[in-house]
């Protein structure tokens, strides 16, 4: 026990003391934010398109087209009369043109062509459609004798649905989705990044040949466990630093919140999510699934690290199936978050291969409402049994692999090592 502690301490302190640890701890949230805001920004700042409209129906007059440009300026319509536009639209500064043929106002027309020289996608098609349909429905309404009053009734009279969970009145599915996604992805990143760190660490010990020196003092199992627990604590430290940062920002923001509208809205959003989700439960479960999932997968990574030699390509090809499982879990999570009570979500959150990620995505929707207590207990119990099993199997592979040099073992051979007495 004492020796595991020594190993753990070494693994922890050498990693935390590295400059790269500080750097990734600081940079990861920055990059993460940059990624989210960057894509939103790029998505919103679309290039404007100039579209020429050659109207043969007589319904789309220049003044009407101009009025739609005021409503939505991402695509600008201009009315043209000259048919030569078909050949020289690009020279005239248009990105494309539409020839609107003679139309029957009662039926309209499908698939009027928007002629361009490059594809702009369905998003652009929808905007053009919407803008033209503003003019079109106005005209249709008029023909049918529907005045503004009737029109308001037509467009605004409808029924909307909002789910209310009896077990958890505060549940806000929007916030839950966000928190679910956030924690699911965080576990995913941690499994991948720190899992491969375990693998590289084991590989390093093997190729450095320090492994034989160390296991003449301690049991291979102690060395493996010390490494896994040490690295998991590094990941936990990193996570706690992030949580501390969020609380710090939150509290600082609350103090000066009233002054700035933006900071105020961020703080309010955070406050909302803190209130609508059972925070201690989610944090507690996060810690559990994070550690459980980490032990489950990193022991497998350790086994692979012990089996290979210096070649990084070998490491990649052998660890691929395990990485695939983690990616599969993230795929299941996206389904589970759409339907947190559906069969995919339930089974995905119980089976230990995917439960750390999928269960974390479901939990913010509420316990015991969305996630019955028995499911949570079963999932936790299976995860504990699961990581005990993988650690046990991995330890056997590790014990043989760490002193084996030369040819890369196949999966079959590794299985043989694992099942041998």
């Amino acid at each position: 026990m004492n020796k595991i502690l020594l190993i753990l301490k070494r693994e922890y302190s050498t990693r935390v003391k590295k400059k790269s640890f500080l750097l990734t701890t600081l940079l990861f949230p920055v990059l993460y934010m940059a990624l989210i805001f960057g894509t939103t920004y790029l998505g919103s700042s679309k290039q404007k398109l100039n579209v020429a409209i050659l109207d043969e129906s007589g319904y789309f007059t220049d003044s009407l087209l101009q009025s739609t440009n005021i409503i939505d300026s991402s695509i600008l319509f201009s009315s043209v009369a000259d048919t030569s536009i078909q050949s020289n639209y690009r020279k005239s500064g248009y990105d494309g043109y539409i020839i609107i043929p003679e139309l029957n106002w009662q039926t309209g027309r499908e698939n009027i062509k928007f002629i361009t020289n490059k594809t702009h996608g369905t998003g652009t098609e929808r905007i053009i459609e919407r803008k033209l349909n503003i003019i079109w429905s106005e005209m249709v309404n008029e023909k049918l004798g529907i005045d503004i009053e009737k029109k308001t009734v037509l467009t605004q009279s409808s029924i909307s649905i909002k789910e209310e969970n009896q077990e958890n009145l505060k549940a806000d599915s929007g916030v839950s989705t966000a928190i679910g996604y956030g924690s699911g992805f965080l576990i995913y990143f941690i499994l991948l990044i720190y899992g491969s760190q375990v693998m590289m660490g084991v590989m390093e010990e093997k190729t450095n040949r320090i492994a034989e020196v160390v296991i003449s003092s301690v049991k291979p199992f102690q060395l493996m466990l010390g490494k896994i627990v040490g690295i998991s604590l590094v990941a936990l430290t990193q996570f706690l630093i992030w949580v501390a940062c969020i609380f710090l920002i939150y509290n600082v923001g609350k103090l000066m919140g009233s002054d700035s509208a933006m900071v105020g809205s961020v703080v309010k959003g955070m406050q909302n999510s803190f209130e609508s989700v059972n925070l201690p439960l989610v944090l507690g479960c996060f810690a559990f699934y994070f550690m459980g999932g980490f032990f489950f997968y990193s022991s497998l990574y350790a086994a692979i690290g012990s089996a290979i030699n210096e070649d990084v390509r070998e490491a990649q090809s052998l660890s691929f199936p395990i990485t695939l499982l983690i990616i599969f879990a993230i795929f299941m999570m996206t389904i589970a978050i759409q339907d947190p009570s559906g069969p995919v979500a339930v089974w995905g959150s119980i089976i230990p291969f995917t439960s750390p990620i999928v269960m974390m995505a479901r939990l913010p929707f509420g316990v015991p409402g969305t996630v019955p207590v028995w499911q949570l207990v079963l999932s936790m119990a299976l995860l504990i049994i699961g990581f005990l099993c993988t650690t046990w199997l991995a330890a056997k592979i590790y014990r043989t692999g760490i002193l084996m040099y030369g040819k890369k073992p196949s999966w079959k051979e590794m299985l043989k090592w694992a099942l041998r007495k």
Partner: protein, 308 residues
């Protein structure tokens, strides 16, 4: 008293019998040579003695009791053939870490390392990293980390490979010192000539089996073939005598094999009568290399040694 007794130890791998029924006794305070060609099973045998492998059958008695890997490894220092240290770790911290894994306390480890570093002129290394050291330097460091915790049994697998003569002698002196202070040293190698300088007692293994066991001097006596070399000025081109046969002749040196029941003095008398002026006359004992080749003659292992 025997620090280590090994009885009929076996370890079979899927493809080969790595250790196939080896027994041996190692006396406390001796320097013991474990010899054999590459692949003879030396490393596997040592790994069982250090608790890295568990034997298929047989028994290991350490210090009078059944070997208990978990507790007894603290009294064993093992330097494997393939050296290994953490490349990016501070040397001082690394030495402390390895010593503490052997059960030393932090302060104890610190003071012992300081003493050893001083002795081997390594004080300036404390804050360096292993990757900054040359191969010979890291070898020295590895040796220090092996013997740091005052083990009762020190196992050195090819300790001199890659060392220059100066550093090799330094380590050799330390090995003698450790043995003088009561430690037992097992010295494993396939370089027979190194063993002749250091070891009193040897065991020779080949293909997982012990083929020779005994005191070095006794073994040499057992295998001597009554061959003598004589250096003289005027050796005739053709030497004939009923006393001996000529094995090899060079202009100023003669190798002869004495016939049965012939005493060296009779041979000397013969040459004196012939008026040969003799400079030197001595018995030629076989080298371990020769003994080994003789024992495993014709096998692949012996060919490996004949080439040298």
């Amino acid at each position: 008293m025997n620090i280590l007794e090994v009885h009929d130890l076996k370890k079979y791998f899927a493809t080969q019998k790595a250790v196939d029924g080896i027994s041996m006794n190692i006396e406390q305070g001796s320097i013991f040579g474990l010899l054999g060609p590459n692949g003879a099973g030396k490393t596997t045998l040592l790994r069982m003695i250090t608790g890295i492998f568990y034997q298929d059958s047989g028994e290991i008695i350490f210090n009078g009791k059944k070997f208990n890997p978990e507790k007894d490894v603290e009294h064993i220092g093992y330097m494997p053939e393939e050296r290994g240290l953490y490349k990016k770790m501070n040397i001082g911290e690394q030495a402390v870490y390895l010593a503490r894994l052997k059960g030393l306390s932090k302060t104890d480890a610190n003071s012992k390392i300081k003493a050893w570093f001083e002795k081997l002129e390594m004080e300036s290394w404390w804050n360096k990293k292993v990757e900054d050291l040359s191969k010979g330097m890291s070898q020295k460091l590895q040796f220090v980390t092996t013997v740091l915790h005052n083990p009762k049994l020190i196992i050195l697998d090819e300790p001199f490979s890659g060392l220059d003569p100066v550093n090799a002698n330094l380590i050799k002196d330390e090995i003698f010192n450790l043995a003088k202070n009561g430690a037992t040293v097992i010295f494993s190698t396939h370089r027979m000539e190194q063993v002749e300088e250091i070891c009193k007692h040897i065991v020779l293994v080949n293909k997982g089996q012990k083929i020779l066991d005994g005191k070095l001097a006794d073994i040499k006596n057992d295998f001597k073939e009554n061959i003598y070399s004589m250096q003289a000025d005027n050796i005739p081109d053709q030497v004939f005598s009923t006393l001996f046969e000529v094995v090899k002749q060079t202009p100023d040196k003669l190798f002869i094999k004495l016939n049965e029941n012939v005493k060296p003095n009779e041979v000397l008398q013969h040459f004196i009568n012939e008026k040969t002026s003799i400079h030197a006359f001595n018995e030629v004992l076989p080298s371990l290399n020769e003994i080994f080749i003789k024992l495993v003659d014709g096998t692949a292992a012996s060919r490996q040694f004949q080439k040298k």
